[in-house]
């Protein structure tokens, strides 16, 4: 039996077992979850513009929220949704929520608001109440048709939708404090889309120019959505986990944007830091591991080439 030649260092570096890689990834992404640390951060311009817009909305107004995310992107979209809802509830801004991407999304959004309300209750802070502060209009299977309808006549687009009143009975959503003053889409001072899917393009195509648009998208969607921010079709943009961390930091530390100073949200039981802060160290480790993996693979290739030329 012939001796198998020993692998060179270059070959070894290029042939790390997949299971080993996966194990390292599990460790790198899990361990930071148990050691929360504050990492230095500079909020990027799209996040700051979004925060500025949210913080300058008139109190008592209603924003239109298209919630198109489910738990598959909970780390990013969930953090974005929670941060958005916290800002809206603290600034006494109402939210009209609907979904145009996934039948699961309405229940996910309702659960997220219920969870936030539990935290509010625990801190003896006022709840964000259905009917008075927010309504969810449910799932609209056709994003295209619904967006065109909203742009043309929001009253007809949402006609017949019902929500539960505090006394437990259902009534037309346009009788609720959230929508009673809304007659056209331009009555919303802002529409925010939280999405992990292509509905962002549909919103731009069908609603740009009719209502100010802002988006909270996953990191993967960041580059394609940045195009619309650069062309000023979006008034603000939160991209991925970094975007969540930016918003949470501005809520926690306050922000100074374009000459305007926004104080931090403070008070007993006030929670500003959530999923973004919890997962940002994990993102660091995962990205670092990605860089190390690419470097190791390439070093292995160069060592092997060097050896073969010798």
């Amino acid at each position: 039996m012939a001796d198998v030649p020993a692998k060179s260092l270059g070959e070894k570096l290029q042939s790390i077992n997949r299971s080993t890689l996966f194990l390292i990834l599990i460790l790198c992404t899990s361990v930071p979850l148990f050691f929360p640390v504050k990492l230095p951060n500079r909020a990027d311009a799209p996040s700051m513009d979004l925060y500025q817009k949210l913080m300058t909305l008139p109190e008592g107004s209603t924003v239109l929220v298209q919630s198109d995310w489910t738990n598959s992107t909970r780390g990013e979209s969930g953090g974005q949704f929670n941060a958005l809802m916290r800002i809206l509830m603290r600034r006494h801004i109402k939210a009209c929520i609907y979904t145009a991407a996934d039948p699961q999304a309405p229940e996910v959004a309702r659960n997220a608001i219920a969870e936030l309300n539990k935290q509010q209750d625990a801190a003896h802070l006022p709840e964000y109440k259905e009917w008075d502060d927010w309504v969810h209009l449910g799932f609209f299977p056709s994003a295209e048709g619904t967006s065109v309808s909203i742009g043309t006549d929001v009253r007809k687009a949402f006609a017949g939708k019902k929500a539960t009143q505090p006394n437990g009975t259902q009534a037309d959503v346009f009788e609720s404090p959230v929508l009673k003053n809304i007659h056209a889409v331009r009555d919303f001072p802002l529409m925010i889309l939280i999405t992990a899917s292509n509905t962002s393009n549909v919103a731009i195509e069908r609603l740009y120019g009719k209502v100010p648009l802002a988006m909270m998208v996953t990191g993967v969607m960041g580059p394609e959505t940045q195009v619309y921010y650069d062309s000023h079709q979006l008034v603000g943009l939160s991209k991925g986990l970094k975007g969540v961390y930016d918003i949470e930091n501005m809520m926690q530390d306050g922000a100074k944007i374009a000459g305007q100073t926004f104080p931090p949200f403070t008070g007993p039981g006030v929670i500003n830091k959530d999923l973004g802060t919890r997962y940002y160290p994990t993102l660091h480790m995962a990205l670092l591991l990605l860089i190390v993996a690419v470097v190791v693979g390439n070093v292995g290739m160069f060592l092997s080439r060097k050896r073969s030329t010798q």
Partner: protein
């Protein structure tokens, strides 16, 4: 025309009714029966006439949205406003019809979801009944569908019922609420998240095995990717920024000496390099791609609208 299309002006007309009224339920049942009869009739249309029906429906549907796009939009239209001239009359009717067509669109999309469920049920019921290979998986799938529909709908009824407010407290939950919670939040949502997180493993494995600097192009790609990745890491950006800040001229702001954000050297901060890459290179490239995709979509849309595309029922 306005009577047919305008659903809410007046709010009650022939096409709707008071919530839970006998009249409304009668209209729903009649519409359902007529819908079933229409679908049954369409399935019996001879093949040579199917093309005519499909192309006509496609053309009308496409024409509506083209008319909506091109026809002058009525400005400041309120309920009860009368049109001034033929052009505005058409504009009013197109505007009134948008929500009705949007509802049709939603109903069709919902029917497609139903069609998908029907197809899945048919395939897996057959597999289960005939005990074909892996029929056990089909049984699990069928049980999952039935359980989810049952608990989902029962939970929906309690959540929107008279005792809905009490359900905020978990102590008031019943069997169906716990069942829905287990199936939707406890299983479906967690599996959804788990499936998506698997991508991270494949990305890492692919990056390690395939991302090699074998050419100038690959080197440029790797360098730009590295800068963008590092810019997302606040810690890396902060460390990189230390020498840049030290080399930058300083200004006094609120009594503190800080690097002048407008100085030339600040361009070499990691986040600023990444911003330049994204704004100058990536955005313009994506716009170019989007233009190409847009033109392709327009051409494809025209072919579909005019039923020039080969294949399918329209052939």
């Amino acid at each position: 025309m306005n009577l047919i299309l305008a659903q809410t002006d007046p709010r009650l007309n022939f096409w709707n009714g008071t919530n839970d009224s006998v009249g409304l339920w009668a209209k729903i049942i009649i519409a359902f029966v007529l819908g079933v009869l229409l679908i049954a009739a369409l399935t019996r249309v001879p093949p040579q006439f199917r093309r005519v029906i499909v192309t006509t429906a496609t053309f009308i549907a496409g024409f509506f949205y083209i008319a909506l796009w091109l026809w002058p939009e009525p400005i400041g239209k309120k309920p009860g406003t009368l049109p001034n001239g033929a052009v505005e009359w058409v504009g009013f009717n197109i505007s009134d019809a948008v929500s009705v067509v949007g509802d049709f669109y939603n109903i069709l999309a919902t029917m497609l979801l139903g069609l998908g469920v029907f197809s899945v049920l048919r395939i897996h019921l057959r597999k289960f009944v005939k005990k074909q290979q892996d029929w056990g998986f089909s049984a699990v799938l069928l049980a999952g569908i039935v359980a989810m529909v049952f608990f989902g709908y029962a939970n929906y009824l309690t959540k929107f019922g008279p005792d809905a407010a009490k359900l905020a407290d978990q102590a008031n939950w019943g069997f169906v609420n716990y069942g829905q919670n287990l199936l939707f939040d406890g299983m479906l949502q967690q599996m959804d998240a788990a499936m998506f997180s698997i991508i991270a493993f494949y990305i890492l494995s692919a990056a390690y095995r395939a991302f090699r600097i074998r050419s100038v192009e690959a080197t440029i790609l790797l360098a730009t990717a590295l800068i963008v990745i590092l810019s997302l890491m606040g810690l890396a950006a902060s460390i990189w920024g230390m020498p840049v800040d030290a080399l930058s001229p300083h200004v006094t702001l609120n009594g503190q000496s800080v690097p002048d954000p407008g100085s030339f050297t600040q361009n070499f901060r990691l986040e600023n390099i990444a911003k330049w890459l994204t704004d100058a290179l990536q955005t313009s490239s994506l716009r170019g791609i989007d233009f190409g995709v847009g033109i392709g979509t327009l051409a494809m849309g025209m072919r579909l609208w005019l039923s020039l595309e080969k294949g399918g029922v329209s052939q």
